[in-house]
């Protein structure tokens, strides 16, 4: 499990009682952000009718996220486009950088994913209350439910609403951690079985790498699309 270990890089930085030292996790957050900014800055610098490769990449990502948002949350979600785009790209790049050997996967830490999810949860709740006032509480009272069942349904709805940040964060964190752990286990098999039996786990390892790259993209996509769905609940209140 050394790959999930966080360690300090450079001196210890403290603000009051809080330790905010620069760690390997911080390093990969910075690397991911810079990579995103670099790619998209280069991709948007020159506007030619026939786009270059980077420009095409940037524009395809833009339309991809834009379409995802308009499909799930409608046109009202337009002001939150930049946030969801940054979120998707940040999670995607953190996942993808984690796929390079000897790197650190930022999203394999529950505290990171939970902070993102909690921010989204609080933000969406605030947006919901701003848009609908106390009418937002109608979200917990689905229409067409018999009065007898209503107390039970309301309780279930509230629990499911409150568990959103947990499910959102644990989904991403568990997927990343499980994938990397599995690769580590198969890598361990290769070493212990040696030249005779190591080929089978080695081929598994290769296949798993492909699968993990898929999972890295998929989890970023799921994270972003669930954010859109939560946002949709807050913006267009119909249950």
């Amino acid at each position: 499990m050394t790959q999930f270990e966080v360690y300090r890089i450079g001196p210890e930085i403290k603000i009051g009682a809080f330790d905010i030292s620069f760690t390997n996790a911080s390093l990969f957050m910075v690397i991911s952000s810079l990579a995103i900014l670099l790619i998209f800055n280069l991709g948007s610098k020159k506007n030619s009718l026939l786009p270059s490769k980077l420009q095409l990449l940037a524009e395809l990502s833009y339309t991809f996220v834009s379409k995802m948002i308009s499909d799930t949350a409608g046109s009202k979600a337009r002001p939150y486009f930049a946030f969801i785009f940054s979120l998707f790209m940040f999670v995607l790049f953190c996942n993808m950088f984690g796929m390079i050997p000897y790197t650190f996967t930022v999203t394999s830490h529950i505290i990171v994913t939970f902070m993102l999810a909690a921010f989204i949860f609080i933000g969406v709740t605030i947006i919901g209350f701003i848009k609908h006032g106390f009418g937002y509480l109608k979200l917990f009272v689905p229409s067409g439910v018999p009065a007898v069942l209503l107390p039970l349904i309301v309780v279930i709805e509230i629990i499911s609403y409150l568990s959103r940040p947990i499910s959102l964060s644990v989904r991403l964190f568990a997927n990343m951690m499980a994938g990397h752990t599995m690769m580590k286990v198969f890598g361990g098999f290769v070493i212990s079985l040696g030249i005779v039996g190591g080929w089978l786990p080695l081929s598994f390892s290769v296949a798993l790498t492909g699968l993990e790259i898929l999972v890295a993209f998929l989890q970023a996509y799921v994270f972003a699309i669930l954010t859109c769905i939560y946002l949709n609940d807050a913006l267009n209140l119909h249950h």
Binding site: D19, S21, S44, E59, F90, H109, G197
Partner: protein, 196 residues
């Protein structure tokens, strides 16, 4: 036999891996709160910076690029459509002109033909008239000659006869008696020399 060896190898490796993991891990590093604050701080910092740069600088530019390309393409398509329409109207005009000019040429040809025919007709009429006149004149002359010829011939015959008789017999013959004989002769055989 080989299967058995592989199976044993796998079992053995499981045991050895367990030993390796037991040696290195002391629980999940994710649950160690030592660097939680640091991670939260750096997450907020990097994500915040990323969000600011993307939303203020980069995404509007990409959006503008996409829009300008869209408008450029639609403009070009519009211009192409317009030009196509223009060329179609031009083609129609051209066809009309050709049709018109064909008609014109036809009418000019017809007119020219008619005029030529008329001219020919007029000229031929004039010529016919002239020819007829000349023929008539000639006929008149012939008729005149014909009318005059018998008297002239009679006169010549009378004179010739009187001179002949004078030379042959040396006697003066009365002209009136000769003319009576010639008249008689010519009356008898005049039909032989003249068709009428």
């Amino acid at each position: 036999m080989i299967k058995k060896i592989i199976f044993q190898l796998i079992i053995f490796s499981f045991l050895s891996i367990k030993k390796v993991f037991a040696a290195e891990s002391g629980g999940m590093p994710q649950l160690n709160p030592e660097f939680w604050i640091s991670q939260i701080f750096w997450l907020a910092l990097t994500f915040g910076v990323l969000y600011l740069f993307l939303s203020k600088l980069i995404l509007p530019k990409i959006s503008a690029n996409l829009e300008s390309r869209k408008s450029q393409i639609s403009d070009n398509i519009g211009a192409a459509d317009k030009q196509r329409e223009e060329s179609e109207t031009k083609l129609k005009e051209y066809e009309e002109i050709i049709f018109k000019s064909k008609n014109e040429a036809k009418s000019i040809y017809n007119q020219a033909r008619e005029k030529a025919l008329k001219d020919i007709k007029a000229k031929s009429e004039v010529l016919d008239k002239q020819i007829n006149e000349e023929i008539k004149k000639a006929e008149d002359e012939i008729n005149q000659l014909r009318k005059v010829a018998p008297t002239k011939i009679n006169k010549i015959a009378i004179e010739t006869a009187s001179e002949l008789t004078q030379k042959l017999i040396g006697a003066e013959v009365n002209n009136s008696s000769i003319s009576a004989i010639v008249d008689d002769l010519s009356k008898r055989s005049g039909d032989k020399y003249y068709d009428n």
